[in-house]
Amino acid sequence: MSRKIAYGGIFAALALLMGYVEAMIPLPLPAGVKLGLSNVVVVLCLYTLGGRAAFGISLVRVVLAALLFKGFLSFWYSCAGALLSFAVMVLAKRSGHFSIRGVSMLGGVSHNVGQMVVAVLFLGRAVVLTLSPLLLVSGLLAGFGIGLVSERCIRYVQQRKG
């Protein structure tokens, strides 16, 4: 149990750090398109520590990132994205129809869908939806990349253990 808590703490710290690192790398990306590096940690956690721990880490990350770097408006965006993507990933994993890559792609896409929903609510206009094709595809690609990285990480850790 205490081992799990310790790992949880490390994962949460890593997730927070990933967001920070990503913010430091200037990428010429259009509005709303993000790599979502910290999602690597959430996906890893989902597969190693299980759903409940991953949920906690996801939540801690969003709250801390909002307090430390962003501010409260973006908290709602991150929160909607993180919660929806998390719920979708847990269900996708449980269904057994998807590999890590598929789970993470679904996570990326649903993250962006969640943010678009909040944007429509906040702005009171449906116009942001013109961005939806871009955000769907970018979520898919980011999710694919993150799935690949997570897959490698998990394999590496398991080899070391065994």
Binding site: R101, G102, G124, R125, V127, T130
Partner: protein, 120 residues
Amino acid sequence: MKKGDRWVLLVVLLAAAVLAIVFAVQKKAGAEAVVYVSGVETARFPLSTPIQWRLETAWGYNEIQIEDGVVSVIDADCRDGICVNHAPISSQGESIVCLPHEMVIEIEGETAAALDGVVQ
């Protein structure tokens, strides 16, 4: 890759393509630029008249410019600057969004009464 993974790829790409096509088909030249703050219409300008206007809200300012029938945000004090970097807009339904200031500029088509100036 499991079978489900491929379905995810296929379905999402298809959805994105359909949405992109729908938005592209709907594209028509606009007549007016409408500024919304938190979903409430704040100002409305005809695209035909060049204008430079500063929107001041509780969150900060956005300097909006209309020139040669295209709308752009030339300056703003928002944290990400996405609205300033956004390409100018001129077709119906196009928009520039500034999330930090909860501002949307949307291009609309011909309306019955062409209002000139600021509607509060």
